[in-house]
């Protein structure tokens, strides 16, 4: 009974269907991976079953004769009911309840000691509470959404993405099965994946997988469609052809996939940039888009405070919520062991990347910049000063941060080429004369690697010295770093004056502002600020709580209000010391914004207005590390490795081919040894026939075995035109003769062939196979040469004419 069920199942679910399923699953899984990577709170484990059920449902719909609309309706209803149930864990609760119910029935019927009614009630209550939980979460989120607040809610996120993936899966497998149009299923998946990958430059390999699987799927499905059509029309199709096409499709797809994987130009950038441009328009450096407010934060920019568009982030919006994953993104090592733990000055653990000078009221942006390239070891600028120390760090970045130059304090030299963005002199153009003037106004640097060694300046100047600084600034400092937009309300300016009222020096004033702000409590749970409000004002008077962006912005505004040149700096702070390896592990959660204030005669000194920095818990870093951070190779080694490992790939593929060929031969022989002699004779003859086709023998259905035998022998004699080749090939003639004999016996003789012949026949086949392959190779080569030769001849003839 079970056996018949299994066989009927096997008949219904053929191998090809399983392959299609697998391919669709690979494609959708890569989307899932990207979702998990980008969308906070989603997880592949939760979403995967939805995709699988969706695929199965879509396939079943495809098999049925349901109309498009009915399918859509049904899958919507099922999806809308099923997704929340699945996400809320109601499914497992129901399952537990059913199990308990059966046991309860059993015990009550047979009067055995079984389950208590209370337990059943409890399980029922669990279901109820889970449903309530999901519904509550979701309705809460919806209400908030309509009332203008976007709050983050994991359950709602999962439900939304689960529904999306559900529809994607149903659609993909339905259209593949029903219309034989996997492309229309692939397109939405690919667009989704590309958009998702835009937000993280990691895991671009997902696109490659999708490409490969998609190509194979399209090829196979189209082939099947063609074959069905041929069948309908009664055109006989050769299995050989099918096999050939399949091999070609799979081979080509994998080839394209490999090429896509190893050619860096076909990277996520090349794919995502046009999409980005299409979605957001061309980002123009240094020009702030006034409408780009933080007020109605869309789903996407609520995740990333820093927009990673085309190179460096030119803008920084406030109030769009930081990404606080515990994922390690950077490892910092201080090579000279003088710096360990407590000995590292606090400033040595502020890894800065960008600084912003223009306050817009809702965020920050940078003035126009110009890029200058520096050679390895070339000093980015002459920063000789007794008030600064140079410290050396070895920094390794995860792929997410790749390309940006991070350093503790301002960078001095790098062990590789670096491109530095200098803010242009106000009103001036970038040229050599002016470079001296804006030399200190660094926006950010980019380098082309994930590991580098950087020497940078950290201030060692003490409070006493800083108090000596007089508030006299160069013109460009004043015009750039004291500017405030008119939108800053007067009460902010008043507050600033109030804070610094009794402070005698610039330094004391700055410290006072810092101290004042540190009294505000820290929190991350905030809705986006209203778009029509000045952020600093909103923070200082309304919120009175917030996170680093608010603190830093407010401090800069307050400082500028009282005539202290200030700017906002973005980077990472702290990190967890890994004592064993003596390096700092910096996680996504360590992302930070702080303040630098300019002191005449000393330069930019960092301040930390954010209260309770230690709220960010460094103890729970998520391990394992991203693979690129796993080992710590030497810099040189790393640079060398960045070249495409053509040799390794080549050798690997070659070895794979050899091993694969050997293995397939071996399994083939093993299989041949199992069948009886008559079947063996016929099988081998069939192969001989295929080899014959490779040798260019036509397909004559009316040829008898002996006639074919004669043809192939003649062909081989023809190919063996030199004594050496003849020596190699002539054995084939008798071997083919022997095989033909066996095949004739197996076909037409009353008695079956002696089983003892099997061993010898297989030995014979092994030898013959080698010879035939050799012959095919020669004939291909000959044909090729003939063609080339003929072409050359033609050219000669033309030239003579």
């Amino acid at each position: 009974m079970i056996a018949t069920f299994l066989t009927s199942l096997r008949k219904k679910i053929s191998l090809s269907v399983l392959i299609y399923f697998l391919l669709i699953f690979i494609i959708l899984s890569s989307v899932l991976q990207a979702i998990e990577l980008v969308i906070r709170g989603t997880s592949v484990e939760v979403l995967r079953p939805l995709v699988i059920y969706g695929m199965i449902l879509g396939w079943l719909f495809g098999r049925s004769k349901l109309k498009k609309g009915v399918v859509f309706l049904l899958s919507s209803i099922i999806g809308i009911i099923f997704t929340p149930l699945h996400v809320g864990g109601v499914g497992s609760a129901v399952w537990n309840f059913i199990q308990a119910g059966i046991r309860f029935l059993w015990s009550s019927i047979f009067k055995t000691a079984g389950i208590d009614v209370n337990e059943l009630n409890f399980l029922g209550a669990v279901i109820q509470s889970r449903i309530m939980d999901v519904a509550g979460n979701f309705s809460n989120w919806i209400t908030n959404l309509f009332s203008g607040y976007t709050i983050y809610n994991q359950v709602s996120t999962l439900i939304l993405w689960g529904l999306l993936m559900w529809f994607l899966a149903v659609w993909f497998s339905w259209i593949t099965r029903k219309q034989y149009q996997p492309l229309w299923g692939l397109i939405p998946a690919a667009i989704l994946l590309a958009i998702l990958l835009t937000y993280t430059l990691e895991k671009r390999i997902l696109l490659v997988f999708m490409l490969g699987a998609g190509l194979i799927l399209i090829g196979l499905i189209n082939q099947e469609e063609k074959i069905l059509e041929w069948r309908r029309r009664g055109i006989s199709i050769a299995d050989r052809l099918k096999e050939k096409i399949t091999v070609t499709v799979v081979g080509l797809s994998i080839g394209i996939m490999l090429i896509a994987g190893i050619i860096p130009s076909i990277s996520i950038n090349a794919i995502s940039d046009p999409i980005e441009r299409w979605l957001y328009g061309e980002p123009e450096p240094g020009e702030f888009d006034g409408e780009f407010s933080g007020g109605e934060a869309s789903f996407n920019n609520s995740i990333y405070t820093v927009e990673r568009f085309a190179g460096l982030p030119r803008q920084k919006l406030i109030g769009t919520g930081p990404e606080l994953a515990k994922r390690v993104v950077m490892i910092v090592k201080f090579p000279n062991n003088s710096f360990v733990r407590s000995e590292i000055p606090n400033a040595g653990r502020y890894w800065r990347a960008y600084s912003y000078d223009q306050y817009t009221g809702t965020g920050w942006q940078s003035s126009p910049t110009s890029e200058v390239s520096y050679k390895p070891g070339q000093e980015i600028a002459d920063f000789q000063s007794e008030y600064f120390n140079i410290i050396t760090q070895e920094i390794r970045l995860s792929n997410a941060l790749r390309g940006t130059l991070y350093s503790a304090g301002l960078p001095v030299t790098l062990d590789q080429e670096v491109l530095v963005s200098w803010r242009l002199h106000p009103g001036g153009e970038s040229n050599e004369e002016q470079s001296a003037e804006f030399v200190n106004d660094l926006f950010a640097g980019t380098q082309d690697s994930i590991q580098y060694q950087v020497r940078s300046l950290i201030p060692t100047v003490n409070d006493e010295n800083l108090r000596l600084s007089v508030p006299e600034y160069p013109e460009w400092i004043r015009s750039r770093y004291l500017a405030l937009p008119e939108t800053v309300p007067d009460r902010v300016l008043g507050l600033a004056a109030e804070i610094v009222a009794n402070q005698p020096t610039s330094y004391d004033q700055a410290k006072a502002i810092e101290t004042f702000l540190r009294s505000y409590p820290y929190t991350l749970a905030l809705p986006a600020p209203p778009s029509d409000r000045d952020v600093a004002d909103y923070f200082l008077f309304d919120l009175q709580t917030g996170y680093c962006d608010y603190y830093a912005t407010s401090m800069v505004v307050l400082a500028r209000a009282v005539g202290l040149p200030a700017r906002v700096v973005v980077g990472y702070v702290g990190g967890q010391l890994d004592e064993e390896n003596n390096h700092y592990l910096v996680s996504e959660a360590d992302a930070h914004t702080w303040v630098e204030i300019y002191f005449s005669g000393f330069g930019w000194i960092p301040f930390e207005p954010t209260a309770a920095l230690n709220l960010i818990d460094d103890q729970e870093l998520s391990l394992p590390l991203p693979p690129e951070l796993e080992q710590l190779p030497q810099t040189a080694e790393l640079i060398e490795k960045r070249a495409i490992p053509v040799l390794e790939i080549g050798v690997g593929v070659f070895v794979l081919i050899i091993v694969g060929a050997w293995f397939s031969n071996w399994t083939d022989i093993k299989r041949l040894q199992q069948i009886n002699m008559s079947a063996l004779a016929l099988t081998l003859y069939l192969r001989l026939y295929r080899y014959g086709r490779w040798l260019g023998l036509g397909h004559q259905r009316s040829d008898t075995l002996y006639e074919f035998d004669n043809k192939i022998k003649g062909k081989i004699r023809n190919i063996a035109d030199s004594p050496w080749k003849e020596k190699q090939l002539i054995g084939a003639v008798t071997e083919i003769g022997q095989l033909t004999e066996y095949a004739v016996y197996a076909n037409f003789c009353e008695d079956s062939l002696d089983q003892k012949l099997v061993a010898n026949t297989i030995v014979l086949w092994k030898k013959l196979r080698v010879r035939l392959r050799y012959a095919i190779w020669i004939s291909f080569w000959k044909g090729f040469m003939e063609k080339v030769f003929r072409v050359n001849q033609d050219e000669n003839v033309n030239a003579n004419q």
């Binding site: 050769a238 299995d239 050989r240 016929l682 003859y685 069939l686 026939y689 397909h699 259905r701 009316s702 040829d703 008898t704 075995l705 002996y706 006639e707 095949a743 004739v744 197996a746 076909n747 037409f748 003789c749 009353e750």
Partner: protein, 317 residues
């Protein structure tokens, strides 16, 4: 089957000493003999038809007679007559030339239909009935009829029903250059038939005739044979196709051919090889096909190219 092979090979080689370079024709004649069939030899005069029949008879150590058919011939000239013996006062049977083991009916299409039918009846029944007495023809019995294709003047073409009774039709054809030179040198002093040895006996032939019936024909080959024969009936250029007797003849001939090569089973090659010889004279082309100068041989080759040969599943590709 090796015995069949040995015997037929000897026979063929023996006859080949007389008829040079005509191995295939000789083989077909021997095949007719061991199939208990009759052979129609169609060719121009002087290529050795009579010599073939004579050397066959001589190799078998069988009685041989020759009937030269003419329009004024009577059936009794073939079968024999009862004549009155005056000494005994009784009718005495005087056997005609047909009552021999190897009979050569030369230019059979010159005889009148009446005579032809007597001859053909004798070859089918293997006996002659004169005045109510049946006279058995001694076994083995083979009739080799020759007909001359170009002489239409004063001939009576054999009706289809009678052509159907011939197992195979053989064409001798002219010998090649070297063969013809050999013929001249061979016959300079004495004709080689004078020194032809007998290589077998009638009993052995009879045994062989039984043995070939044991040759195995696979179902796929039976199907192949029938497909070929049926194709001759449905082909466009055919007026009359081969009869089931044609299928039988092709099957039996294939068995014999397999046995002659020492095989105890038939292969498609046998069938292909014998199709023209066994079916060619049973097919009448339509007049339009004849006008287009299509020959039976071409038609049969066309049919053979069309019908898929059985042989493993490699054709399923």
């Amino acid at each position: 089957m090796n015995k069949v092979k040995e015997l037929t090979t000897n026979l063929v080689q023996n006859i080949e000493t007389v008829i040079v370079g005509k191995r295939r024709a000789i083989q077909l004649v021997v095949l007719g003999l061991i199939c208990e069939g009759h052979v129609l030899i169609e060719d121009v005069p002087g290529v050795g038809k009579t010599m073939l029949a004579r050397s066959l008879a001589q190799s078998l150590n069988c009685s041989f007679s020759r009937i030269q058919c003419t329009p004024d011939m009577l059936p009794s000239d073939i079968t024999g007559v009862d004549i009155y013996d005056q000494t005994s006062g009784l009718f005495k049977f005087l056997p005609g030339p047909i009552l021999n083991q190897v009979v050569l009916a030369d230019e059979i299409n010159r005889a009148t239909p009446k005579t032809q039918s007597a001859l053909l009846e004798a070859m089918q029944e293997r006996q002659v009935t004169i005045s109510g007495t049946a006279h058995q023809i001694p076994k083995p019995f083979i009739l080799l009829a020759t007909q001359n294709p170009i002489e239409y003047e004063g001939t009576f073409p054999l009706p289809e029903a009678q052509l159907d009774r011939f197992m195979v039709k053989v064409k001798l054809g002219y010998p090649g250059l070297t063969e013809e030179m050999d013929v001249i040198s061979d016959q300079m002093l004495v004709h080689p038939i004078e020194s032809l040895q007998e290589v077998t006996s009638s009993d052995q032939i009879l045994e062989v005739q039984d043995r070939i019936k044991e040759v195995f024909i696979a179902e796929s080959i039976k199907k192949y044979i029938v497909e070929i024969v049926q194709e001759t009936r449905t082909a466009e250029s055919v007026y009359l196709g081969a009869s089931p007797r044609g299928s039988l003849a092709l099957a039996r001939a294939s068995q014999a051919w397999a046995a002659m090569y020492g095989r105890n089973f038939v292969i498609p090659d046998d069938v292909k090889l014998l199709t023209e010889a066994t079916l060619g004279h049973r097919i009448i082309l339509s007049s339009s096909a004849r006008l287009q100068e299509l020959r039976t041989g071409d038609l049969i080759r066309e049919i053979l190219r069309k019908i898929p040969v059985p042989g493993g599943d490699y054709h399923s590709e």
